[in-house]
Every structure is written in C-alpha cells, then in structure tokens.
Subunit: 190 residues, 2 copies
DNA sequence: ATTATAATTAGACACGTGTTCAATAAAATC
DNA sequence: GATTTTATTGAACACGTGTCTAATTATAAT
C-alpha cells in the first residue's frame, strides 16, 4: 500500500512554502498560519502532519544529513597514513557544509534549538567512530571510547562554529591547512 | 543614581516565578502570561524589561557563567607541566557543571536555543585562550589560533555533551581520568 | 511635605496557537 | 463505476503574543 496522494500534495506544498519563506525571513519568525496561507493548506491539516514549524524544518535537515552521509560513503583515496585519512574524512564535511551554507547558517544560528546541532553531531560522530575503530589498535574500554569519540567529534564541529562565526570567509583550502596544522601540532598540552 | 525600587521588585518577582516554574515544567513550555500571573506582574510590564522568556532566563545564565569565571580565577596549584595545567583548568569546569547540573540539563536540552551553548563556549574559549597563550611558544598567525582555540574548546564541550547524554552518570573522578587519557593518548591521527 | 518623574496598571486590539467538530471531497478498494 | 475509507476543510473555542493607550501609583528629587 502506497501513500495517499493527498498527503504527498499537502506535505510538498508545505515544504515548498517553507523553502520560499526562508528566502525572505528567519526560520524563527515563520508562523504556522503564514505557511498555511502560502501553501493554501488548512491550518488544522498542518497539525495532522507536523507538531510545529521545527518538525517541518526537520524534514529538510534529514535530506541534508542524508547527503552528508552519501558524500561520506563516496570512494576516495584511502592511505595507510592516518593523518591523511582523518583529513580526507573531515575535508569532505567542510565541503558539504560549504555546499549547503545557506542551510548551516540557519542551523548554527543562536536562536535555533540545539536539536539540529545534535543531528550533525551524531552524523559526524558515526564517521569519527568508524575512523577511530579502523585505525586504533590500542584497546580501551567502551566508556572511554564514548568520551574520546565525542571529544574528537566536537573538536571538528568547533572548527565549523569558528567558520560560521567568521561568516564562512575562510576558504576551504585554508580550513584544510588549519586542520592539518592542528592535527600535527606539537600541542602545548603534551 | 541607583535603580528604581519598583524595577528591582518587578525583576525579582519574575526571576522567582521562573525559578519556581522551572521546578515543575520545562523552560520551553513556560509562557509569559503564566509567569506574570504567578509573579503578580502586569503582562505589559514584562515587555518593559524583557523581550521573551529566554531573555529572562538569560539573566540566570549570566549568574551561572559569572560563577564559572569566578571559580576559574580561584588560585590553584599551577605546575609547569602543561598537561597537568590544562587538566586542572578543565576539571574545574567539570566541577562547575556538576554543581549546576539542573541548570545544564536545561542548557543542553535539544529544544533549547544554541545561544546558551555559545555563552558557555565563549567563556570556556577565553579560558582556553589563556591556557594556550601562556604555554604556547610556537608562533602562529592569529587566524590559525582562532581555529585552534575553537577546536580545543569545543573538544572539551564535546565531553560535556557526552556527559549530559549519559545523564551525568559518569563520576567526575572518571571524567578527570578520561580527559587525562585523551590528552596523553597516542592519537590514531598522528 | 510637595512636586516632578517614571514605573506599573487595566483594558483593548489584531493576530497566532492548538484543539475539536461535523461536513465535504478525494483517493483507495472492491 | 459504486462503495468504503480517509484526508482535508471551515468554523469555532480558549488561550497566548506583542503592542498601544490613558489612568494610576510608587519612587526620587526638591
């Protein structure tokens, strides 16, 4: 059994309306009433599908995150040099964020709920876990691993936050160099 | 010229009302109307002082952040061993978060806007900057430093996120060990 | 104590929210 | 094609939002 055509039409209209409105005003100022007027959908119908505007927006985020995952799965030159490896992994995240810059400008906005950050966090974390699982031979307890992976994951996201705050003015090439620099840096902590 | 007594009374009533309501329901469900009824303040008066509930909540956050800064300034055993140094710096952040656990459970909630995370980020970042400035002798460009500091800052916050997601079940002592482990870890990335 | 200043108030306004209802229309099933 | 099923609709409801007025009251200044 496939999905009712009416449902598809309704959801597409709302998605389109949200997309249109996002070009003119910030997400946090978009009301359900406004969306429904533009989409020519009864306001009650909105609530049959979504809880609030964020629930609708989340369906976007899922598409973007899917693209991130896809781009990550893409074949690429794997080397047995770990630092090149992690660099290749993360550089593709930088590229992805750059491609969807308009989108991430929303996600990193201070008025936007943490949930989208966590969605990004979880996705990058799964990549990070793979990288570390594949290339770490030292055995440590799983609890330790949880903290270590979250530590490394959020470190990368810290670079994205810095990028965002500098209005994405730093070119990817330079970000790339920064990351390499950091990973090979003779840290003051050791 | 000091502040009008009426203003002080109004703001204290609202703060108290928010504090009371937070014990019974999540921040995101607290309405301005509800706060004003409890505080016996006219709703119009609320708008003379605050833009929304988050603006009021922010005055809490500022108090907490102030305590974090204070606790950071406290004298402590500084050693010329850098890893002990950074560990001492960050362990006091873990303690602080533990002390205000109820509060940070709100701040890290997925429905809460990023702004509070950024406030924490900025505060920890300033500590991180000091640590690195004091103990890093290699000279690098300021742009590089911005990324490096944000990278290290958010790494620590990644541990806090992991801690939060594990319902703060990990004892501080163990977090302490985790951090030490990570900082001395023979990273797979190098 | 009197006066000047400024905060607070009640009331109203248009609009948004979240929910419910019976009526209708569109799609799926037979 | 007729029938059953289900999504959508419009209307209404109580409540919240943000803004504005004029009247009132508390505080500060004299």
């Amino acid at each position: 059994m496939k999905k009712d055509l009416r449902v598809i039409k309704t959801q597409e209209s709302l998605r389109k309306a949200l997309f249109t409105l996002l070009k003119t005003k910030p997400l946090e100022t978009i009301t359900i009433a406004e969306l429904c007027r533009l989409a020519r959908i009864n306001r009650g119908t909105f609530y049959l599908h979504y809880k609030d505007v964020h629930h609708l927006f989340k369906s976007y985020v899922e598409v973007i995150v899917e693209d991130l995952k896809l781009s990550y799965r893409e074949p690429y030159n794997k080397t047995n040099n770990n630092i090149k490896f992690i660099k290749a992994d993360m550089i593709r995240i930088f590229h992805h964020v750059n491609n969807y810059r308009d989108f991430y400008q929303i996600v990193f906005d201070e008025h936007i709920p943490m949930m989208y950050f966590y969605m990004l966090f979880d996705t990058v974390r799964s990549f990070m876990k793979e990288s570390i699982d594949d290339y770490t031979f030292e055995k440590v307890s799983s609890v330790q691993m949880d903290y270590y992976i979250s530590y490394q994951t959020n470190a990368i996201l810290g670079m994205l936050i810095e990028w965002h705050r500098q209005d994405y003015s730093t070119p990817i090439k330079e970000l790339n160099e920064q990351l390499l620099e950091i990973l090979t840096f003779k840290s003051p902590f050791r």
